[in-house]
Amino acid sequence: MEQTPLWEVFVRARRGLSHTHVGSLHAPDAELALRNARDLYTRRQEGVSIWVVPAGAIIASSPDEKDAFFDPAADKVYRHPTFYEVPDGVAHL
């Protein structure tokens, strides 16, 4: 038999928080993946909402390409508010 598909599970712990990756599980289809996720990852009211995503559908960057991949961010320090000098006495900025 073929390997049962792998799903990644994301749980929103409380209203107002984003979904966070909590782990993975195997299930033949989305519906069972959701039910299994409920039984496995929220036995103690750890969440108010669950996402299940086929693991194969996640496209990840690889650590090898990390420096080059994220380089464009490193030379754009002006994207951070701390880059800017605020003149003395300016309020609400």
Partner: protein
Amino acid sequence: MYGNDFSAPDDAAGGGLLGEVEAAEAELREAAGRQRRGGPAPDEDLAAYFTEVIDAEQKIEPRDWMPEAYRRTLIRQIAQHAHSEIIGMQPEGNWISRAPSLKRKAILLAKVQDEAGHGLYLYAAAETLGISRDELVRLLLDGRQKYSSIFNYPTLTWADMGAIGWLVDGAAIVNQVPLCRCSYGPYARAMIRVCKEESFHQRQGYEILHTLAHGTPAQQAMAQDAVDRWWYPSLAMFGPPDGNSTHSAQSMAWKIKRFSNDDLRQRFVDMCVQQAEILGLRIPDDDLRWNEERQAYDYTQPDYDELMRVISGDGPCNRERMAHRRAAHADGAWVREAAAAYAAKRAGQKEKVAA
């Protein structure tokens, strides 16, 4: 409180261990927050980078380069741990139908379900290292990977549910709390989740024993008998003495393991003495006494020859546990096949609608 030292024995019970799990979790977040490069530079030596990450108390993640031996050690250890959780359902499952009240039955069911959950968290962590679930299940069923020898002992009375919770889960927690700081991220995160749930297990066991120990003389005797039988096998759970432990040194260097077998065993003994006093039960060791110089209890070592015999297959229940696991796996095949067939059928219907 966190760092490389144990807390004092008097605050180590219950809340103390949970506190350590929370400290490990906070430390994990704190380490992640420390500024670091995301990965090695293109021309950097990968082995040096790996060592640097570990030395900086940071986590190795699934897609990082790692030495093959590190990967193999982790797969072996995590798989063995997962198998233990799954086989560990049997000794307690044995008493679900005979629990003395509806409340005890509901609690025991929840506990055994947790063990299944722990097995699944751990299998998922092992799979991030590139081994498939089917292969892991196969390795267990073929007897090519082991599980904790403690589950090869029988559960003869209801008091054994108490002794397992207090001593076996207690020893497991002492073993596992340091694993919350393991250098491999998915394992550390799974262990934090497991340890939080284990503390419920330990307390429910302690409560069972406390109730029995304060009951009728027959109940007290049953509780004492359970402690007599489970004490030494629980001490043996920490593995052979440091001098004979094959995997320890390298695992310590890789920060998979944080403390030696003997250190953890000592810590467990020191915790149990006071807990046994409150239970009013006797730890079956005539040589158990406080050593002022060492600031720890002297105690009798478990029979390590027995440990080796049980590990190599000759314990009271080895064959029964494996036969039960194989039968459960075979008997469940139709469920897996039906679920797969249903999923395939529904996928087919969707395609038709889409066409």
